[in-house]
């Protein structure tokens, strides 16, 4: 099997070196817990509802670099593509707690669920109340309870950052984040595989002329493998599935995220955006904002995902709220 070339030192140090690099982007605001895979804000207001985000490494900037004003108070990284262990999540929880409890936002995967659940039990033993709202936006899985969390995390973490910064209580904050989760839908497509940096091996194999719709961000197989098709046809297929799922309807106002899985060009994403907007116009759906970027990546996987978030006034205000983090920053809206 071919080994993918990468700019690395000792593969065992990947996560640690990535976190140190992120901290140096915002050293006035961020600090790393010594010896741990936990980043947190230096100044977290007393009485604020805490927000901890996290998951396997290798999807940077999600989640580790989404710590900062208006976003998470702490992030916890696992090894590459593996959920963080409970003791590390607990460290992040303690770092974020300011007396009002802590909200967990992370992707809905068996490993993350188990590790965060154990951490929540450990936190409860220490008198820290927690609530959990998992990202579960990937419509590649039919059963909504079993849906994976992919690029929609970008909006869910953004809304959670707003909710935890502006709401007085944990319950109240969690409710708004749940509304975001319930109105959030994503679908991805993979064109070329990514690799596991520790071994240099590809996480899956895809034929010369094949693409996979619904591919997970860990390289889990998706739901449908197809012949490579023109961009317009692909976008039509994806938008059709997304609109039918919620379902979105005429008159809805949405935020759209076009997420680059790692190795897709901006040019391709604009070709996608062009056709997507034509289709949304035809469907009578208004796009309030579009975010384009490599937010939730899977190493050098080529492909992209589309995320639609149906907005109401509060969710729109949450997205407009200013944030400043190494992974994402925006001024007031």
């Amino acid at each position: 099997m071919t080994r993918v070339k990468k700019i690395l030192n000792d593969p065992a140090d990947i996560v640690s070196e990535v976190l140190d690099g992120i901290v140096r982007l915002a050293e006035d605001d961020l600090v790393r817990v010594a010896g741990a895979r936990v980043l947190h804000r230096r100044r977290i207001p007393e009485g604020k509802v805490g927000l901890v985000v996290g998951g396997g490494a290798g999807h940077e900037p999600m989640y580790s670099a989404f710590v900062g004003e208006g976003l998470a108070d702490a992030s916890v990284s696992g090894a590459v593509f593996a959920a963080p262990p409970p003791d590390q999540i607990l460290l992040a929880t303690e770092a974020a707690h300011r007396g009002r409890g802590v909200l967990y936002v992370y992707g809905n995967y068996a490993g993350d669920n188990m590790n965060f659940d154990v951490a929540a039990e450990l936190a409860a033993e220490r008198g820290i109340e927690t609530r959990t709202v998992r990202v579960a936006d990937d419509i590649a899985t039919a059963d909504p309870a079993e849906r994976r969390g992919i690029a929609g995390a970008f909006y869910q973490v953004k809304v959670a950052g707003f909710a935890c910064a502006t709401r007085d209580g944990l319950e109240d904050a969690a409710r708004l984040v749940e509304r975001c989760r319930d109105n959030l839908r994503s679908l991805g497509v993979a064109v070329r595989p990514g690799s596991l940096p520790e071994t240099g091996e590809l996480t899956f194999e895809l034929g010369e002329n094949e693409i996979e719709i619904g591919m997970g961000v860990h390289g889990e197989r998706g739901v449908e493998r197809r012949e490579l098709m023109p961009a317009d046809e692909l976008v039509e297929e994806m938008v059709r599935r997304l609109l039918a799922d919620l379902p979105f309807s005429r008159g809805d106002e949405i935020a759209v995220l076009i997420d680059n899985l790692g190795a897709t060009t901006w040019a391709e994403l604009m070709i996608v955006n062009r056709r997507m907007r034509q289709l949304l116009d035809e469907a009578g759906i208004r796009v309030r904002r579009t975010d384009v970027g490599a937010w939730m990546t899977s190493q050098e996987m080529a492909g992209f995902s589309l995320t639609f978030l149906r907005l109401d006034e509060e969710l729109a205000a949450a997205l407009d709220h200013p944030v400043r983090a190494p992974g994402f920053a925006q001024g007031g809206g």
């Binding site: 590459v80 995967y109 490993g111 590790n115 197989r221 998706g222």
Partner: protein
């Protein structure tokens, strides 16, 4: 005496387990690429490298404490679902191993407790194509007829786990990252069930040897073999 494993024997066997799971890295990752994200071998190798370090750092100790050291290391270092699942396995057993040696009754109670704890934590049942499908028959083998030579019993536990892992080929995944695959997962064993088999084989002193990907070599013949010690 062949009806108990003393603390020194347990330590040697646990170290053998740590080495075996590090050596199985590529086999387990290859199995995981078929139905998961391909990192299971890396995850297990990382956890058992930490467990080996913890065992060596702690030095000789009571069997239960050694199982606990392995469980804690896995919980903190594997990451993913595997850390919780395999950490819970060793920690549950640690709670049932109270004396200065391991006897057949400890294995029975420990594996039953582990089965219950892992199922509760992961929300999976036997038949869902997970490591429980190897753990359940292993626990059953451990709780069979009493007064058995414990080394033979360990080999039978490993063989039962191996048959359980093999049977996962025909199961549809209902949890974990493989669940979206549905029928595409048929024909491939669950990587966690394979890992559990390698753990029991190494603990029993059964030489797994080089093998093709799959659990077929963990078949019935191992049950007749004595541990090499």
């Amino acid at each position: 005496m062949a009806d108990r494993l003393d603390a020194g024997d347990v330590r040697e066997r646990l170290l053998a387990v740590c080495r075996a799971l590090q050596a199985a890295r590529d086999e387990l990752s290859a199995a995981d690429r078929e139905i998961g994200d391909g990192d299971h071998g890396v995850t297990m190798a990382r956890g058992f490298a930490a467990a080996e370090e913890a065992l060596r750092a702690a030095g000789p100790g009571l069997p239960g404490a050694q199982f606990r050291a392995v469980g804690m290391a896995l919980m903190s270092h594997c990451g993913g679902a595997a850390g919780i699942v395999f950490g819970t396995l060793f920690l549950s057993m640690a709670r049932e191993i109270r004396g200065d040696a391991i006897e057949a009754g400890d294995l029975c109670r420990g594996l039953r407790a582990a089965l219950e704890a892992v199922a509760r934590r992961g929300g999976a049942k036997p038949g869902d194509k997970t490591m429980l499908d190897a753990l359940a028959p292993a626990a059953e083998a451990a709780c069979g007829e009493p007064r058995k030579d414990i080394r033979r019993l360990l080999a039978e536990i490993a063989a039962a786990a191996g048959r359980g892992a093999e049977a996962t080929r025909e199961m549809l995944p209902r949890t974990g990252k493989a669940k979206t695959l549905g029928e595409r997962a048929l024909g491939h064993p669950d990587p966690g069930a394979l890992s559990l088999t390698r753990i029991f084989e190494a603990f029993a002193g059964v030489d797994a040897g080089p093998r093709k990907q799959g659990a077929s070599a963990a078949g019935a013949t191992t049950g007749d073999r004595e541990a090499p010690r």
